[in-house]
């Protein structure tokens, strides 16, 4: 077949070759179909393809659709150069996505989770942050359960970037969407609230979490809450109180494992040096942060609002089995407190271990 005779010719080479021929002599070889080759000759009176064939027929690179022989800018080749080899599928995917969004042809679950939007818009947007900005590495992803489970992690950094990155990290590792439990302030806020719902977050209240775990979802929770996100720089990696242990009771009721998770690097992205309480109270915020990089504002301008590009590591710890306590332990406050402390201690130890092991904040 003619197509199997195809050779790779990079566009630049081709263009250079074309520019070089003034009189444009044709190739002297005959094609496999017995007709004279219509390609322009490049060297020794043969076109590039036949010149190679004559020289060394074995050294043929794997077959690939040949470059268009005519001149001008080739849209197809250009797109391939930019988007990679499977660019055709990519174009089709984007077109299909656009069609689904325009006609409302996508499914949303009862909590408002829009998997189509999350997978195709949110995750690709966040991926550069995950991969290049904070260079998130992980360990212990094998501890993430395949069924229902509760991921519990530390929370800090003035803005809850750790939650978003952990979501993405779990998605990259397992292909599963962890469902976050958020504070009601999140759902009260315009835009953020509905973005949260669409990306799968729901209210950190018993009912919703129970439902998600019953359905076998992976649920992620940051029990430090605003006490964690708004913690002072000097308190970095010191876990705050773990709420009232509601998350533990939920896991006990559903009898799912708790995965203690330590995020290192996230607590240094916005070193909070001062909390303007008066302003926070006035505006109804849980805290009003002054972060370290703000002092660089006279020099860096708006750049000073960027989070610091620290190096992150997420460690998923060994799951804590809740079946040994039994579902009735959910109604036993003592057992809930004990288990809450155990989870908190585990994460604290994991944090210390990872902090000791890291080379520097940024690398």
């Amino acid at each position: 077949m003619a197509s199997t005779d195809a050779r790779v010719i990079s566009m630049d080479e081709q263009r250079a070759a074309r520019a070089a021929q003034g009189g444009r002599p044709r190739c002297a070889a005959t094609t496999s179909e017995g007709r004279p080759c219509r390609n322009y000759a490049v060297a020794d009176g043969y076109c590039r393809i036949h010149a190679d064939e004559v020289a060394d027929p074995e050294e043929a690179p794997p077959a690939r659709p040949p470059a268009r022989p005519s001149g001008g800018i080739d849209l197809f080749e250009g797109l391939r150069d930019v988007l990679g080899d499977d660019w055709l599928d990519l174009v089709k995917d984007v077109a299909a996505f656009a069609r689904r969004r325009l006609t409302g042809d996508y499914e949303v679950d009862e909590f408002g989770f829009d998997a189509d939007f999350t997978t195709n818009v949110m995750m690709p947007l966040l991926r550069p942050l995950h991969r290049y900005y904070w260079r998130v590495s992980n360990s212990g992803t094998e501890h993430l359960p395949t069924g229902g489970g509760l991921v519990v992690a530390n929370h800090a950094g003035t803005l809850p970037a750790d939650a978003v990155m952990t979501r993405l990290d779990i998605f990259e590792a397992t292909g599963r969407h962890a469902r976050e439990l958020g504070a009601d302030l999140v759902f009260r806020s315009p835009f953020i609230g509905h973005l949260g719902r669409k990306t799968g977050a729901t209210l950190a209240a018993g009912d919703d979490a129970d439902r998600l775990l019953e359905a076998g979802e992976l649920v992620a929770v940051w029990p430090e809450g605003f006490k964690g996100v708004g913690k002072h720089w000097r308190d970095r990696y010191k876990l705050q109180r773990f709420g009232r242990g509601g998350f533990v009771a939920t896991a006990l009721r559903a009898q799912v494992p708790i995965v203690p998770t330590a995020i290192v690097g996230s607590e240094e992205i916005y070193p909070l040096v001062y909390d303007v309480r008066v302003l926070a109270r006035l505006l109804g915020f849980p805290y009003f942060p002054i972060v370290a990089q703000m002092f660089a504002a006279p020099v860096l301008g708006p750049l000073s609002l960027l989070p610091l590009p620290t190096k992150w590591h997420i460690e998923y710890g060994e799951p804590i089995d809740t079946t040994e306590y039994g579902p009735e332990a959910a109604d036993d406050p003592m057992a809930v407190f004990d288990l809450t402390d155990r989870v908190r201690d585990t994460i604290q130890q994991m944090l210390y271990r990872n902090l000791m092991g890291r080379r520097s904040v940024f690398f």
Binding site: A2, S3, D5, A6, T31, S32, C37, R38, N39, I49, P65, P66, R68, P69, S70, L75, F76, L88, V91, K92, A95, A96, A98, R99, R101, L102, T103, G104, D105, Y106, E107, V108, D109, E110, F111, G112, D114, D184, F187, R188, P190, F191, G193, H194, R197, K198, T202, L203, A205, D207, D208, R211
Partner: protein, 355 residues
């Protein structure tokens, strides 16, 4: 005794489309002996054996009907949801709340009544950011409705439950319907999507749940003819975001910043096309979804129309045409594919020739 002969049913608010559909359903049944409808307006349905009594439910005549006809089942569905159709909010409240009180009082007096079915609404759950994702029937609203139809519905349910406590021998069924949609019924949501542009609150996208009118009639028929005491949320499975509805309908959204919403609502209200109470504005912010597990398990009812199916049926039957045509978009996509395919083929042929 009445049971042995056949059911004798009283339907309030018979002029409503849904009540008419229920009456027609009951007329077809052999085990329903007698159907009487009460309303202040004359019904326009094709009813054959249903008797019509033109009366307000506050009228003592209703008590007489219940006694004289030996009614054993009362279906109360005359609650008015829009102030305009009742002639103002004050009259609406009077009709809804006082009317229900008097109806329940009459039912309590009667010794033939065995069953009371109340058509209620999921609006009794209110609408708030701190709501659970799905409301169970036993959940209490985080922020109870303070005005309009939702408040009336809450009060009516309260009286119905008081009645149920006093008459333990009567099966009380409360059906909390989600927003109705369908080809025939007039509904708040129907009017909303028929507006030239669909208003929304900027930065908020409520989750909506719908109940198709055919499912509503099926459920009503089932509880009227059977014995299913309790409270049930009634809706199709699944949800749609408001933004998604707008896209499915191919309409144009008009997001309004929150501070301007009341002003715009007043304007729209003046045009008499859609009613916007503060409750509905909150609903447009946060939406509301009821859990239909009990409907499925205890009532053994599987809705035929999911939220999407109900909405698409409504769009098709009401002939709501969009600015963005779905077929058009699908055609664009296919054309793009065809173009890529054609180009690919051309290139392939060109490549074959050249080698």
């Amino acid at each position: 005794m009445a049971e042995a002969i056949g059911r004798r049913v009283l339907i309030t608010g018979i002029a409503n489309e849904l009540a008419g559909m229920l009456a027609r359903r009951l007329e077809e049944r052999d085990d329903v002996e007698y159907v009487v409808g009460v309303d202040v307006r004359e019904p326009h349905h094709d009813l054959t054996r249903t008797e019509f009594v033109r009366a307000d439910i506050r009228n003592p005549l209703v008590t007489k009907v219940i006694t004289a006809a030996a009614v054993d089942t009362i279906v109360h569905m005359s609650t008015v949801s829009a102030p305009d159709s009742a002639g103002g909010r004050a009259r609406m409240k009077e009709q809804n709340v006082i009317g229900a009180m008097q109806l329940f009082a009459a039912a309590q007096k009667s010794d033939t009544v065995r069953r009371l079915v109340l058509k209620s609404t999921t609006a009794v759950y209110g609408s708030d950011y701190s709501d659970p994702a799905l409301f169970r029937e036993e959940d209490t609203p985080r922020v109870p409705p303070t005005s309009g139809f939702a408040k009336d519905a809450t009060e009516i349910e309260g009286y119905a439950r008081a009645f149920g406590r006093r008459r333990g021998d009567v099966d009380l069924t409360i059906l909390r319907f989600a927003n109705f949609l369908g080809g025939r019924m007039e509904s708040a949501m129907g009017a909303f999507f028929a507006l030239p542009v669909v208003p929304s609150v900027l930065g908020y996208d409520p989750r909506l749940q719908f109940c198709h009118e055919e499912d509503a009639v099926d459920v009503l028929g089932r509880v009227v003819l059977g014995s299913h005491p309790g409270i049930y949320n009634v809706a199709g499975p699944g949800i749609l975001y408001l933004s998604q509805c707008v896209r499915i309908a191919g309409r144009v959204p008009a997001p309004i910043p929150l501070p301007l919403v009341s002003a715009v609502a007043a304007l729209v209200k003046r045009s008499r096309r859609v009613d916007f109470s503060p409750e509905q504005l909150r609903f447009l912010q946060f939406g509301r979804v009821g859990d239909i597990q009990r409907l499925r398990e205890d009532l053994d009812f599987e809705p035929r129309y999911s939220a999407r199916a109900a909405f698409e049926d409504f769009i098709a039957r009401r002939r709501i045409s969009g600015i963005v045509d779905r077929d058009e978009v699908v055609r664009w996509e296919r054309e793009l594919y065809d173009f890529i395919q054609r180009k690919g083929q051309e290139r392939f042929i060109a490549a074959r020739r050249s080698t």
